[in-house]
Symmetry: D2
């Protein structure tokens, strides 16, 4: 039986232990031969720390898997069966800029769909397209499993501009939505039918109980519209979970990455579908902004918190006796991501037919969006790839916002690919999280200059802006 | 735990033993309390024969299920959990007319999508809509599992004009396609990924192997384009099957219901998707017509053969010692249908997540067709109903034909519902299997008169036609 | 030859003299018999003043037309050939609230597409649907020519909920766009081909010169992206116009209704299509808001200015010697509207085939929007109604915003029709001019209470809000 | 003022006198400098005959236009302002094969949408794409006015594979439909509003009277459904026309190109839209086929008749005293075509805004077809090109057939462009006028061999067929 070579770009990430743990959990169904953790020169130290720990974890599990650490991406990609991406161009300092620069202008940064996320796309897309070019040469049959954010835009860019179809984008938000629903209905996830549709960090879902009766309205009325409801749901999520898991769940549901603020009751009661946590940025912008501005003033934006957490984690990882994923990783946020990646890899390899929520080609699943764009929907995972489940039409009250966001994504990735400044400004203009006009241009310009090092496609424009006196005083 | 009441309309059908066998096979997951076999006065004798046999089968299986026989549909529907429909308005004699009248004019009857199938829709739709009205009153939470042909049109009518969404249409053609592919690739079905899309008896499919590599082109080139290939595939299907199963498989694949004629190689080699057996009526009309005209002349149309088979079957069923499904039922054609119905009922009841190919609401799965119409696609069966899997766009060489057939269906069911003669003639006019012009009108008129008894919606028009001298001399 | 009866709902409007002038200008092609000016009790005094003046104007023109003044709408509608609507539910005081309440919260009111416009829709739609009900009974063959704002939403409501298809919505913004283009290209409008598409107050256009060469990019680069360019264009518009006309043109182009602020160059240079003046609310929100807040502080919102202008106009209208449209009406804003209504009536009556930009049923002209919704596009005006000209697909950078606005409109009119508070809050939530969250709800609630008298459909909710202590302290 | 150079490819056509007459009629608005009549070596003699006559016509009109005759296409195209195409690859002998070969198998040839028309597309598309390549180099700003049949497919090929957008396809069928409607309503065309939509030789239309009331149903009931009605309508068309014009009108309406057979009443009464004359091939196939088979047996297919008429015409043209279009040209069929080309050229040059029915890019005008394909619809002709008027959705009873025909066209032109034999067979398979199966392949193969000389793209396949023994014994 063929044994697998898995390459992980951004292998020096603090998430790596969860990824390794995920592989170990599935050791009976995943015949791994080699895991290649790749990183860049700047990430060498972290790669060595977390890589050594990964090797200890594998050893502790009694497995003969080879765990390679390398700065040579091409060596890692050669003949790989799966390539997973968890890299962060510009490291956490770039994310800090993504969040703090907008907030310094009184604007939400939002590292996935807001100004911050758009810049993350600007930085990431040229790099991922380079990886795809290498893959075409070195491992043309491999699957690319992306969980670098903004996961939807990155996946779309790989398909649209990289002409690479064997790619799946992952996200942990649907996983948390499922946990909340199970908590809210006082049952377990496997008793429920979920249907998700939309975009990465911008999807809605419906829920049915074991008897096939829809429980969507119940959840809207009793959980999503009240802070009490959310607390009860989260409490139920917590009970029955161990300490680390509790932290993980909490971190995802908002305490860590998103402030725990509920929707307005009247806002959701007639939606007929359940928004995701990230919709709060669009539905209750005022409260979200106020909360984030306070964090900003205290130097406690999510990016800064994550940076501190990471520092602590790497201290832990240095411990030569630590050979399991520490509970503290739960505080990092973004948990379930790496496990989802392992689950996906296993599902493809084993043709397991498990249903996951992934970013994949629409093909009509969301008929209100173009058939050839990337959407985030339920999909049955087969060895031939994800088979998306059709959602049907949206009502006007949600449809237009979804269509706008997709077009914001398409405009953003066009700017990321071409370096067209006008398209970048258009993307800022139509993004509901960015006020339009001079302020948008000011923000765009400052962020371009601030991220100069990682934006080769905008080089000329940045030079022009600097000549005009635009500076970043972060 | 709740125990199930299942009502089967058309319970006197010769298929009933397969249905009962299907339930018995699933006895561990289907907590049945009552099975109600319903039929009409004209079917009373058959109902009693096959009903008695059903009771013997249940008893032989050591089960305490109640098997009720009744002519009172409302009694059977009261509080039912599942209603399955396998009735045939006008019995087999009507089907004989459906096939022989067109052939007497040198036209294919085709009891599903041709003139015959359209008349079956005309007869069936008023009756199924009456059943739905009863269900709204007597069992508003029940699922309607339809395998009365034309299954797609009947399902569409139930949704569109009956406003009843808990309905699933079934067909055995995809099951046979799967078997052919497995045979052609010398593997088993569970090793393959299948994706079907289109309409009932008018769908295409793609196939991937266990490693995720598409095998569609291989099957087109090596199986579907050659008579040898088809024989080999069928041979492989046969080997490993018991005697009865062989007959069943053969009967479905064409020997019984459809003559075994292969596509033209050049016709399919650049299709990129695999047509179904019924596409032969549209792709190699000349050969199919010639074959059927010969059967017609010999009094051996499929309907006539089935009638003879049924007579033999009912003789067998009369045997008070027979308490299992006889092998001869395999010759009846339409096998797998009843088993599929059992599988579907079990899947909904148990939320089993099995993937089946069913007629269900499009919701974008086939973006080339309206979102709100019925299509036949892969769907994950949940307790909340079928979740269709998106197929994506068709190429022009198949798209237009599919769109035409859907509109032929929609025009047919509109005529069936309203009794509009002009719409009926339009449906005949656009159906590729019916030549257009005076001949179409002549055929339509003769069939209206011939089926007069079962076409209340066309009553006035039929009286007018008779006054004009139109007669049926069957 | 048949002579025409024209009924004008809101006949007491200060616009009426332009309307009468428009009819008089077309006296050779419009065989008018009767003009009925209708108003409500509160508008009786204005109706009498402006109605008397209308009678003087007709007399001075030497025409025998009857000009009737009435408070009995049904009498006016009886056997009418054309019904034009220019009424304002709640009069200008309601518009003042529409603009001042949002600005008191730091939010743009925007009387057409913003919070103000949405409330205008809430107040107007129940009334226009009542008019349509009367028309069905009293003048079922009449055309309804609507220029009550928000013209697009009102037209959509008439079609969608009134089931009345003989309706056309008018707007003067395209007329001003045409003048700017002609000015910018230093030519006359008749030398240019224009193509508009989008929604009322939210459309884009393209321009070609006499030789068929597209001049869109030239206008974007040289006119729309610079304040100088706009000034030059406006200057050209002015030259060659008489004093009154100059005021009119200026008032429309922004000096009166919209502050004269240009787009950002980088924002429009890669759009490939030209936005309308109202897009500035969405593209340069920051500047527009700042300008309006200053007006608000000075008690000089547009509504307040208009109220003062109207007071002056009605003083003028009282002059028994005034029998022509005074130049000062040009300052009122909204000029060209009434003349466009006359042009449209003449075009329908005479089957003149003139091309106008109107709100009408899409029918595919804008394939990115549903076929059955109302869009604002070029249309050839025939006696059978407007024939819309197809625009084709939008690029993502404009498509999503257009789709969002249409869905904001649909959600708004659904709320206006049903009185569903949740839909109203949703419409506020998705409108890009209204910040989302508690602030949106606060604004919505205060406006509901403030407009209580004219919102019968929200009566229960308003009572509830008042019980909760929501007040309006305008 | 710029003077025009017009190049006519296929200048040796018998139609040329009508074209010249059309230009002369418009001499006051068309500032022509040069007309270049281009033909190929085989057409040299006819070019010289008809070219000399053209020169006499221009001289007789007292005009100083230069009329050049040439076999050098590039010389003619150099700096042309308009290029019109009326060439026929393979001359009339090819058309005779297009009609007679299918009929020899009992199949309709139909030189526009049937097997004959498909082969005309196969022969024409490579040539027109060559012309477009020349135009890109020699006259990149020119408009291409195509009336070489199949006009819609040729236009689509120019846009889709030639990437040339300045092209308009013309047809005379809508002109005849207009005349029939005016005749049927006993009025003149200018009193009516027409709306056409569909494809070349496959469109439907609606008609409104001067008062804006729809008369479509009246025409369906009283004209299109009865032979008497058609006769009356044609009679009305005739009265008031001179002798030659009568022949022309008759020839178009069916006596010449299409047998005068009416639709079935019940077939059209509930269509709600009026089919065109060519729909008779699809709606009353049986009668049309019978009629054509009789013509075939007598050696009087339309192609053969046209050949005889042409021979007579060229005898006339040789008369050095003939300097006007002879009445006999009316018998040729296809009249109005050349005049429509002149009208179109004049309309573009003069930005005349006249409404014509042309083949142009859809852009949503027919939302049931892809936005980027070519449709035949009403369009306002501007100097920037045709502006299509939106039609809206079709009903299912017509939609599917339209979609099928578009896809037949797309598949045909793909085969024409690529030489893919499988696609050619697919196009034959889905065309409703060609029976499917072995017969289709037999027909395709024989026609390929018969037209061998003009099908370079199928060269290898034809060689293969010949090696297999396929022959043409015409």
């Amino acid at each position: 039986m063929k044994k697998l070579k898995i390459a992980t770009i951004g292998g020096g990430s603090s998430y790596t232990p969860e990824l390794i743990e995920g592989f170990i959990k599935r050791k009976d169904v995943l015949p791994i031969k080699e895991i290649w953790l790749v990183d860049i020169e700047e990430g060498k130290e972290k790669l060595e720390i977390v890589g050594a720990m990964a090797q200890r974890m594998v050893k502790a599990a009694g497995l003969d898997w080879e765990v390679h650490l390398t700065l040579d991406r091409r060596e890692a990609l050669k003949d790989a069966d799966f390539v997973s991406t968890q890299f962060r161009v510009g490291l956490l300092d770039a994310r800090i800029k993504d969040e703090r620069i907008p907030l310094s202008h009184g604007i939400l940064g939002q590292e996935t769909n807001g100004a911050g996320g758009m810049f993350k796309a600007f930085r990431t897309i040229p790099v991922i397209l380079g990886i795809v070019e290498d893959m075409k040469e070195l491992c043309p049959d491999a699957w690319l499993v992306n969980f670098t954010n903004p996961s939807g835009m990155v996946t779309e860019a790989v398909m649209r501009y990289g002409n690479w179809n064997k790619v799946v984008g992952l996200c942990n938000v649907p996983i948390v939505c499922r946990k909340i629903a199970a908590g809210g209905l006082n049952t377990t996830e496997d008793q429920l039918t979920f249907k998700f549709a939309g975009l990465n960090h911008f999807h809605w879902h419906r829920v049915w109980d074991r008897e096939g009766n829809e429980q969507t309205q119940y959840l809207l009325d009793n959980i999503y519209a009240t802070e009490d409801g959310m607390s009860v749901a989260m409490g139920n999520v917590m009970s029955g979970l161990g300490k680390g898991e509790k932290d993980e769940a909490m971190s995802d549901s908002g305490v860590k990455n998103i402030p725990m603020i509920s929707f307005l009751k009247d806002q959701v009661k007639d939606l007929h579908i359940i928004p995701c946590m990230y919709h709060r940025y669009y539905y209750i912008t005022d409260d979200m902004l106020q909360e984030e501005i306070e964090s900003y003033k205290e130097g406690k934006t999510r990016a800064e918190e994550v940076k501190r957490t990471e520092a602590r984690l790497f201290e832990l990882y240095k411990d030569p006796n630590l050979d399991y994923k520490p509970e503290e990783l739960g505080q990092r946020g973004g948990t379930y991501y790496s496990d989802a990646a392992c689950e996906l890899i296993s599902a493809i390899h084993n043709d397991s037919r498990v249903e996951m929520v992934v970013s994949t080609k629409n093909n009509g699943a969301v008929p209100d969006l173009p058939s050839d764009c990337v959407v985030e929907v339920n999909a049955v995972i087969r060895s031939s790839g994800p088979q998306p489940i059709s959602w049907g039409r949206f009502e006007p009250s949600t449809r237009g916002l979804l269509e706008l966001m997709k077009d914001m994504e398409l405009t953003t990735i066009e700017a990321a690919y071409t370096g067209n400044y006008g398209k970048a400004l258009q993307a800022f203009t139509i993004n509901p999280l960015v006020p339009s006009g001079k302020i948008a241009k000011t923000l765009l310009d400052e962020m371009l200059v601030a991220h100069k090092k990682h934006l080769p496609q905008f080089k000329d424009k940045i030079a022009e802006l600097e000549a005009e006196g635009v500076t970043y005083n972060g």
